[in-house]
Symmetry: C2
Subunit: 759 residues, 2 copies
């Protein structure tokens, strides 16, 4: 095991590399030509534009030395924006997301102080390791629970601290849940009028022999919500059309690429191979080829559009039903409509950007079956993912390569190459798997049939957390694959599982400390440097971008990746809880991680990420539940550890901890969770009344008219023509579109953040 000095050295290296990243970031971000990579959000808000007033060099490089001196001043800048303004600027989802890091600080900073004040002295003076002969130990071990003799009364300190930590965590968690629930309610209450406030998504509309889906929906809601029903919008199965549009877009990209190429080198007209992946087949003139392809697709698209609108089969048994008031929508979303609970399923409509159109037409029975299959698949993926990877690895060895490609034999046999391949190949399959894992999990969630992007992200995060828990946390403590662990566990006593894990916990502390530094610290530093988007943007900017909208697309930073980053944060919570009692020296590393992450992500959500949708922090119950899970796991492992230490008499005392924690969870769930899934009538009524008083002449029908049409139909003439004519030119819709841009707050902030470059 590593000594304190080793850990210090590793920490120093990691800190240095993090600082190197930060310095690189500080320099790169000051260059105007990187501005769109590091401050894309301001461009999207329309507050910043490409610098035009300076000369050619100053357009690309920042030659003002004074700005380099203050290379760390993005940090206070990131912290300066007050929270309310931040919600307005970046949305509630992002703000609540960075509050997870803040929550980590709130929990673990006091825990660190308490643990260093009480447990470290107790452990340090335990003196067991010094008196045991033939044992190598380090200072880290002297600080951990390993230094205390079996059956010593000193363990009472740990038991008491375990209680103190749990109560503190629950106290903070409770406060945070309360704050976030009220933030959400306040956010929903202060929101402007939005289409989803009036709209309910209805699925599984039963087929009717005499009526079309649209008529059936209208009649049903006219009868059963007579005073509240306003209008509805059927859902077309436009999946094929969407893929055509997608394909056309990519072809247009290539066309632009070759046109640019041709402009630059007008002598040789670019050619392309028309076969598979552009690597086989006949050569053809690239520009002509793509132009004709695009033409073909455009026609195909037209036919498909017409087919969708004329064919009744392309209307899915689902609809977005809008109501006269928020009250009416809240009632419909929360009640059961028909006596058959699998028909006329209503749920609050996700906001239009958040809809996952692909899944709107899956019938009830199919969803149940899909969920079963995905649950089984997730189990196998979690516990048996090593089997196919090991198989691929066994194929990808030197002999196999030599057999398939005999001409490579000499090259491979060279020592340097050989050792490189031997060291590299076995890992590559695993690395590739881990990189694509979030996509696999997202695909699984999509198959499960969720209808909004936000719910897809939440479900994927849950799956990823399970994977990390089993394969990273347990897998690191107990060596061996998850499958071996599972079979070991099944053949062990139920009592022995926490014992086995608990007993090996203290020995793995140094491993996890370096894990936190490498994966956590360096990961966050890499996050702010944005190396991949930086390269991709400059490549695209050089080869593809022609118009401003192209450039906007190229610099689009996308959303925060909740599905993959939230479970990683949860891993740090888990490590913190587990080691808070066992090896408190790990806690400062966790605290640094949370603090640094908070800083970086606050900067990122202000300057970089541009959320695709706004769910109003609906993910918080999941975050809360997973933190509670981590806490309970830590209790169980601590019980196991103490019983291997001959301190089993404390077990009855410790059993109370998970019981209390579970009860606390149920309490919080009942108390706060409804705020995230239900819609109080009182609040709806307040907003309705206010609106009626301030805007008595509001034409809601035209406001809602095209809110929920499939994105491929948006801004299409042909769709409009099928809609009611007189509603077309309603000023409200236009107003809403414009109002997104440039409010006073944004311009003020934009100038504040932009000032460094312009100085």
């Amino acid at each position: 095991m590593a000594s304190l000095a080793d850990i210090g050295l590793a920490a120093a290296i990691n800190i240095l590399s993090a600082i190197a990243f930060l310095v690189a970031f500080a320099i790169l971000r000051l260059q105007p030509f990187n501005d769109r990579v590091y401050f894309p959000k301001w461009y999207f808000k329309g507050i910043r534009n490409s610098p035009t007033h300076a000369g050619a060099v100053r357009k690309f490089f920042n030659l003002d030395c004074r700005t380099y001196i203050r290379f760390l001043n993005w940090m206070p800048a990131a912290l300066r924006m007050p929270e309310l303004e931040l919600i307005d600027h970046a949305g509630l989802d992002s703000v609540v997301y960075i509050r997870i890091y803040l929550l980590g600080l709130k929990i673990f900073v006091p825990l660190t102080f308490l643990a260093f004040a009480v447990l470290v002295p107790v452990n340090w003076t335990g003196g067991t390791l010094e008196h045991t002969r033939n044992l190598t130990f380090s200072d880290i071990d002297k600080l951990s629970i390993s230094n205390i003799a079996s059956d010593s009364n000193r363990f009472w300190a740990h038991v008491v601290m375990s209680y103190a930590f749990t109560f503190w965590t629950c106290y903070i968690l409770h406060n945070e849940y309360k704050v976030i629930a009220s933030m959400r309610l306040h956010f929903l209450a202060s929101e402007n009028r939005r289409a989803d406030q009036f709209t309910v998504l209805v699925r599984n509309v039963p087929p009717d022999p005499d009526e079309t889906v649209s008529e059936h929906v209208e009649h049903f809601f006219c009868v059963n919500h007579p005073d509240h029903y306003l209008t509805h919008q059927v859902v077309y199965n436009a999946n094929k059309l969407a893929s055509l549009v997608e394909k056309k877009k990519s072809l247009q990209n290539w066309l632009v690429y070759y046109q640019n190429k041709f402009e630059r080198y007008p002598k040789n007209r670019p050619t392309v191979k028309t076969g598979l992946w552009g690597m086989w087949g006949n050569k053809a003139d690239a520009i002509d080829h793509y132009s004709s392809e695009i033409e073909k697709l455009t026609k195909e698209e037209e036919t498909e559009r017409e087919r969708i609108l004329s064919d009744p089969k392309s209307i899915m048994p689902a609809a977005f039903v809008s109501f006269r008031s928020r009250w009416g929508a809240a009632v419909c979303a929360q009640t059961q409509q028909s006596s058959n609970p699998t028909l006329w399923l209503t749920e609050w409509a996700p906001e239009p950007r958040d809809v996952y159109w692909h899944n709107l037409a899956i019938p009830f029975v199919e969803i149940t079956i899909r969920k079963l299959i995905m649950a089984v698949a997730l189990f196998f993926l979690t516990f048996f993912f090593m089997i196919p990877i090991a198989f691929v690895q066994s194929l990808a060895n030197l002999e196999a390569i030599e057999k398939v490609f005999p001409f490579l034999k000499e090259l491979i046999e060279a020592d340097a190459v050989k050792s490189f391949i031997q060291g590299f190949l076995p890992g590559i399959a695993l690395k590739i798997f881990l990189i694509i894992l979030p996509s696999i999990l997202m695909l699984m969630s999509q198959i499960e049939g969720y209808t909004s992007l936000s719910s897809l992200e939440r479900r994927s995060a849950g799956k990823y957390y399970l994977f990390l828990l089993v394969n990273v946390f347990l897998g690191s403590i107990i060596t061996g694959t998850a499958f071996q662990q599972l079979s070991n566990f099944l053949n062990q006593s139920a009592n022995n599982i926490p014992k086995t894990v608990g007993a090996s916990m203290p020995m793995k502390a140094t491993f996890f400390i370096s894990y936190i530094m490498v994966d956590g610290w360096a990961g966050i530093a890499a996050e702010i440097l944005r190396l991949k988007p930086l390269i991709v943007f400059h490549l695209k900017n050089t080869f593809l971008v022609k118009t401003d909208s192209d450039r906007e697309q190229a610099m689009d930073p996308g959303s925060l990746e909740f599905a993959s980053s939230e479970p990683r944060i949860q891993l740090y919570f888990l490590l913190g809880f587990v080691y808070s009692v066992v090896t408190p020296i790990l806690l400062p590393f966790i605290c640094v991680f949370f603090g640094f992450s908070y800083l970086v992500f606050r900067h990122q959500i202000i300057n970089v990420y541009n959320q695709n949708y706004e769910s109003g922090a609906t993910f918080w119950p999941d975050v809360h539940r997973r933190i509670i899970t981590g806490l309970i796991i830590s209790h169980i492992l601590f019980m196991g550890l103490l019983s291997t230490k001959g301190f089993g008499e404390s077990t009855p005392l410790l059993v109370a901890l998970p019981v209390i924690t579970i009860w606390f969870h149920i309490f919080c769930k009942n108390r706060f969770e409804p705020a995230f899934i239900k819609f109080p009538l009182q609040d709806a009524m307040v907003k309705d009344t206010l609106e009626k008083a301030t805007e008595p002449t509001l034409d809601l029908r035209s406001y809602l008219h095209d809110a929920y049409i499939h994105p491929v139909f948006k801004d299409e003439d042909f769709y409009r023509s099928s809609a009611i004519e007189e509603e077309e030119n309603n000023p409200l819709v236009a107003t809403k579109r414009n109002s997104r841009l440039s409010t006073p707050v944004h311009s003020k902030l934009g100038s504040e953040f932009g000032s460094e470059n312009e100085a």
Copy 2:
């Protein structure tokens, strides 16, 4: 182990004793003076009255010999009433309850045939036991899975049958759930107008400094349900008053008893001791004593009534809020009212008879804490109940008695008495505990804070099921107390638990067969004989009854005891599933139990039980869930058994069974459970529209006016005076009260069932 002949003999004995019970029942029920014990339901319906037309002897004894010959014809009579009529006569709860027995038949009769056709021959020709020396075995064992050699391919038959049984069970369960859900919906749809259709129970009304609870409720619902709110009824804390009324009633009973005594023997005026339990203290004239006590209580009652009505503190923060339409009530019951989900909690009001008034005022946090405490208490009760009982037993031994009561020494030392005490005393504490257990569990459910009698019964049933599962089922298979089992289990491998239980399963088959006969068959026969109510009724009738209403009270058979009898049925389901593959010979005994029970309980709900409330079969999801639990337990134990038989390779195949079953459960839950907890708006709208068309002038406000007042206030002048005067003499309320009695169907049935006596 018992041989087939032994089992046959035991069966014969049990069948004979059951027949003896039945003959006794056949004779007793034909005696007119027992009529009120065996046919009370008809008296409550007002169809039967005490025979008056015959002489003194014929009034008490049935001297018509012909009726004795047909002593078993209650059986076809019980089956004759069609189900729809039965629902009308006995309510949906009772009908669905007896359908549990029918479900047992539907599942286990085909299972029996299949098992006897396939598994019995396979087992019989297994030939292992014959070839093993030094082993005593019986024919029962030759029919069971024990007769098959380790690792034999014959086990495939059992695996395949296990699948067949599971699919059959799921098929039947699915159909049954479907039928009962539609029965419930049909029942609710065809019900007459009832107060609870329009009413919602609102709890946790927040305190308001400026308004009373009543005003606050009215304002809140006027604002948030403006078009639908009609009226409301506050809830008084009348618990003290109710106990006073209860006490007065019991004193009045005693007064009547002594008055009757005095009338019979006018010479000596009865006296009573005024101290504790009437055993100590001064002697006093009994009639005077009770009269004066009653007078005192009446005054106290008056003061308490006035206090409740005048003191604002006696108004609880809860109310029954009624709406103009069923639609409005359905909306309010299913939606969240306030942004704080612990305030303004709404739920569909139980019907007035079903309300458990005592629990209406418990605040949210307290309920959460109470539930935690009760969950912990249930755990200890289930696993550690033997500890206090063993303690009591250790106290109640011979020496202890001799020490406390030295004068009894000689009596006790007599051999006969001594052996009696030694055989009797250790068991008595356990017996008493088992008798009062359902009451303990009911008390625990009451502490948990449920607000309706039906939910209390459902929760108690769940607790009792857990107790039976752990202590009767597992406790019988593995000898030793539940606590010892628990500690054994914790120290065993998770894999080993089903192995241990599974391996000892086949050996316990004969025990469970005799359990089914003694507890099941004889229990049902005793149920129809109603020995305890028979004795109690005649005692009361002799000593207390003076008026007709007294007699009605004395003969009140109460409701079916769902809380204690349903978990017992579940035990038979569990036994059936577990042994269907292992020892199929047990199945016919289960089938006989279900068939016989169905017959008996169909008779009982027609002639005896008088349900206190009608919940519309809301308990079915619980029944379904527990049957599924039994099925899954059987799968796990079968897996354990096969792996001890060296047939572990089938485990992966068998693991699919519980997974499929759990999925099936989730599917059914989503598909059918909403019918039992939610209230479709479509159905509400249909009923509303119909009512508006047929009774456009209905005065709903007066109809609902006193529907939800505490029973102690019912029919009290003082309460009426505080209500609005002009609503008093509304004909609707009176009509409803009268309409309970004598509809054409009832008279027809009454005469049919009554014909035997009158012939």
